[in-house]
């Protein structure tokens, strides 16, 4: 796994001591295009937050290749729509990693912003105040910001929400172009037909990874059935997963047997190219 771009080592992420992503192992290859699939509450968005680093792991680690730029399109942005900003102000935030706090925006930067807006079908929207955008237009503007970020790792959390079918095709084309440019892309997505049509690899999550590999194999009926049996609710009576001091030395299976929650056997293949 020399060309791993992201590596998860027994990664557990969650909230209030309840895991949302549980014991995830594996790696995401350079230049791979992965769909992240699963029911509501299966840990897809949590995994994205863990990779970006805005959620600290409860256990394990998420190792990111150093030096690479990361772009993240959250499922629910925390944008203040009443803020007096224009579309161009919003999209130009994407220049942050290159221009930082004080760097001047160059003519090329402005051209990049215009191009990005054009790519998502928002040409001429530069001066529009953001509070006049529709939900889908705002989503496209945010997509344009990801374009401007020009990142090596791109994480999109349900990017096609509120997007019309005409624009959907454009956005898929952009994702494929990124894939052609050997960027590493992970997309949280619910439309399995889109996954089958456009995504070479899929990670199927149900708090645990159910399957991870080539899309066709991951989305086999037995895997889907297993994912569907996933119980979304937290169990406040669930036993503690690993005692802080005693966990060391016990092998995975015996721990799984001792606890009230089932540990899936490690997925057979991960990130197969």
């Amino acid at each position: 796994m020399t060309d791993a771009c992201l590596t998860f080592r027994n990664l557990t992420l969650g909230y209030n001591s309840h895991p949302a992503v549980h014991h995830l192992d594996g790696s995401v290859k350079h230049g791979s295009l992965t769909a992240v699939v699963g029911l509501n509450g299966s840990g897809k968005s949590t995994l994205m937050k863990g990779i970006v680093g805005i959620l600290q792991p409860m256990a394990g680690a998420c190792l990111r290749e150093t030096g690479g730029r990361i772009a993240y399109l959250p499922q629910q942005s925390e944008i203040d729509r009443s803020f007096p900003a224009r579309v161009v102000d919003l999209v130009s935030l994407g220049l942050w990693s290159r221009r930082g706090l004080l760097g001047r925006f160059t003519r090329d930067d402005r051209a990049a912003i215009s191009n990005a807006l054009g790519s998502v079908g928002l040409e001429g929207f530069e001066k529009r105040p953001i509070d006049t955008l529709s939900g889908g237009q705002l989503q496209r503007a945010l997509f344009a910001r990801v374009l401007v970020q020009d990142a090596d790792i791109i994480l999109l959390d349900e990017p096609f929400n509120a997007i019309d079918t005409k624009t959907l095709g454009d956005l898929i084309d952009i994702i494929k172009r990124w894939h052609g440019e050997r960027r590493t892309i992970m997309v949280v997505i619910h439309d399995l037909q889109l996954v089958r049509d456009h995504f070479p690899e899929t990670l199927l999550l149900a708090r645990h990874p159910i399957a991870w590999g080539r899309t066709k194999e991951t989305l086999r009926p037995e895997n889907m059935l297993q994912a569907r049996r996933f119980i979304e609710a937290w169990d406040d009576e669930a036993e503690w997963c690993e005692p802080a001091t005693l966990g060391i030395g016990l092998d995975h299976q015996s721990r799984g047997a001792r606890q009230n929650h089932d540990h899936q056997p490690a997925p057979a293949e991960k990130g197969a190219a």
Binding site: I54, Y72, P74, S77, E78, P84, W96, L101
Partner: protein
């Protein structure tokens, strides 16, 4: 013409204390009005008010120990303000509680402490100066302090402008690309405290918030760009100061309230007649285009 000269210009030519008051209030407006714009855009308009109360125990302690002197009262106020700002900010950043609740909790604790300290000294006419300011008696130390605070504020705002905008507009995005979000928030709170400290020599702890918030709130009705909003707020602030000082001079009114009420009149006029004010938004039925 002589009448206008006598009314508008002569007070500032003839009296040194009016010149000092004018200089001090200009500096305050340049410094605290842009801070007010960001407070408003971050929906923290009432935070300024809370912080003004939070300063009280520090200023009162300085007053208790050293009497009515600028340096100890300023340092005391600064410490109290920073402690409350950081505590409230930390609770909101690291727990589920939002900043409005944590700020309310800490400023009320601080206020009670302040009242307690004041009562130890017993009632004092001098303390009214702390609460309501003495812009007509600004000495060199006070002017120097205000100038220093204005310089620090402008440098801070220019340096962190982009981060402040990003932190207001899309905080989650800023967290995903930079670790600056939390530091910028605290730097900004520190600037708020500094400006309130600067203002309380001139306007008192309570009214200094007025010069921060009223021009900013008024400017929101005239423009949709942050840059021009800051500029307009400064203009409104300066205008309020001049108007307030003149009213105070000619009608023998207390200067602090006269300044803040002038800003208040600008605010009400902006609400009604501003570009996005009531008249434009409601009364007039706008024409619309085909696309």
């Amino acid at each position: 013409m002589p009448d206008i000269y006598d009314f508008l210009i002569a007070p500032f030519i003839d009296y040194a204390f009016m010149q000092r008051a004018l200089l001090g209030s200009f500096l305050l407006a340049i410094s605290s009005c842009p801070v007010g714009v960001f407070l408003m855009l971050r929906r923290m308009s009432l935070t300024g008010d809370a912080m003004a109360h939070a300063i009280l125990p520090g200023a009162a302690t300085g007053f208790l120990l050293f009497g009515l002197q600028i340096v100890p009262m300023t340092i005391g106020g600064l410490i109290a303000g920073i402690v409350v700002a950081i505590s409230a900010g930390a609770v909101s950043r690291f727990t589920v509680q939002k900043e409005d609740a944590s700020m309310a909790a800490f400023y009320l604790i601080s206020l009670a402490l302040g009242v307690l300290i004041v009562s130890i000294r017993g009632s004092s006419v001098d303390l009214l100066h702390v609460l309501f300011g003495t812009i007509l008696a600004l000495n060199n130390d006070a002017l120097l302090l205000i100038a220093l605070i204005a310089t620090l504020t402008l440098i801070g705002l220019i340096l962190f402008w982009r981060a402040l905008i990003a932190e207001c507009l899309d905080p989650l995005f800023l967290r995903s690309v930079s670790g600056l979000g939390t530091p910028v928030h605290f730097i900004f709170l520190a600037l708020v405290v500094l400006n309130l400290i600067g203002g309380f020599q001139a306007l008192g702890t309570l009214l200094s918030v007025g010069l921060m918030m009223l021009p900013a709130a008024a400017a929101r009705f005239w423009t949709t760009r942050v840059e021009s909003m800051c500029g307009l707020a400064v203009l409104f602030g300066i205008f309020s100061c001049v108007a307030g000082l003149l009213l105070s001079y000619h009608l023998s009114l207390p200067s602090g309230p006269a300044i803040i009420l002038s800003a208040g009149i600008i605010y009400v006029a902006s609400v009604v007649f501003g570009a996005s004010g009531i008249v434009n938004a409601r009364a007039r039925r706008p024409r619309h285009r085909t696309a």
